[in-house]
Amino acid sequence: MDSSSNTSFDAELSALLDDEITEDDKHRLEGRISADPQLKSRQETIRRANDYGKRNFESMLREPVPLDLVRAIKTTPEPRRSIKLQPPPRAVRRIKHTVGLTVACSLVMFGIGGVAGYLLASRPHIKTFADFTGETASAWLDDVASNYRLFSRQPRHLVEVPASESAHIVEWLMATTGVSFRIPDMSADGLEFVGARLFAAAGRPVGQLVYRNTDGEIISVNFTKSILPLSTPLNETIRDDIGLVVWQGQQASYALSGPSSDAFLETVAKKIAGII
């Protein structure tokens, strides 16, 4: 067999391997191969070379993906939609500065100050500037992330109460956090319930249900009495290498924490939000 017929035969063998050949050509080629041991050996060489290449390319998938890349994608802003808003017609009204108006304005300002003072005095739990400015939610999430960072790396001390004592976990965390809940069964999603723990975040008791995925990574569900604004939608944020999906339920605030490289945190959070 000369080199040009070799190349043409190799092209046919290659197409056969990729199933890019008609049925007739396939039968003809297979007939030729079975009749000629030299062609059979050539087919075997090409098949082995193909497997060698595939094996090596497949091994590249096992390399860890840089977290910066994951973060860059998750934090890419949505495309802006250009919407032209017509400015509403504004009626220009001139206000005359009179003594009566000045007195009225002063009284209104005095009233607002009085009401603000009364409200603050009647809410003794507002003790810090963070409480007053609404930064408690952010502080809570920081503490949840810190807790996850600390405990997810301690496989021997992951939980306080193991999964085998589920009834006790529900009773204990309900009594301590004041949040009624169910332990979501996430085994269909490859998450094994490991147990629970109690900790404090932003000065509040937080219940934590701990799960382990098939890669051995820890995913935890954290909840406390409502701390987030009522309108908080389910959304994902990233703190370094930790992904947090937060949402507000009927009576409690929730945060799912896990590795930020996990692409399915939001999907898991949605499912848990429907069960817990």
């Binding site: 190799d10 290659s14 197409a15 290449g53 998938l61 390399e63 890349l69 860059a72």
Partner: protein, 163 residues
């Protein structure tokens, strides 16, 4: 709960596809830093143009096409810049990555690795691969034959070294 399901889905799907996207980028750029930059830029573009993605096409296939187009653009610009400075075009490869998988990328002749990856590994048809790479189906078929020949040579060298 308010959210934009299409947007969050494409981001999530892109993160899940990252190993595959990086691997394809590596067949083009050969070095990891440029590959990661290419993947990041392509994903950003895909998110911004997500309304243009036709759901009947696999997301990774769309991303492969975006990446190839961006890489070609970048290659042209770099070639022009280097030509202007009178230097040779070199694709660097990190020394620490000289494992068998990476040596395949380095060992295959120019343009063979992406074709092999798309058809033999990702399982795309010659037609799909041709449309991603902006080539004809015959050219894709010929490059696959060449890639398999070169892989056979590499494999025998690898076996000899181990013997």
């Amino acid at each position: 709960m308010e959210e934009n399901p299409q947007m969050s889905d494409i981001r999530r799907d892109l993160v899940a596809l990252l190993p595959q996207l990086r691997r394809f980028a590596l067949t083009l750029t050969v070095d990891t830093t440029s590959a990661d930059g290419l993947v990041s830029a392509a994903c950003e573009k895909a998110i911004h143009k997500s309304h243009m993605w036709k759901k009947d096409r696999r997301l990774e296939v769309w991303l492969f096409a975006i990446m190839h187009a961006m890489w070609l653009d970048d290659k042209k610009k770099r070639r022009a810049a280097l030509k202007h400075r009178g230097e040779a075009v070199l694709l660097p490869m990190d020394a620490q990555e000289n494992t068998t998988a990476y040596s395949i990328l380095d060992g295959l002749s120019d343009g063979l690795a992406p074709v092999f990856l798309l058809c033999a590994v990702e399982g795309l048809s010659y037609r799909e691969a041709a449309s991603i790479l902006g080539d004809t189906q015959d050219a894709v078929a010929m490059r696959l034959v060449m890639a398999r020949h070169e892989l056979a040579t590499m494999m025998s060298r690898h076996v000899e070294r181990r013997a």
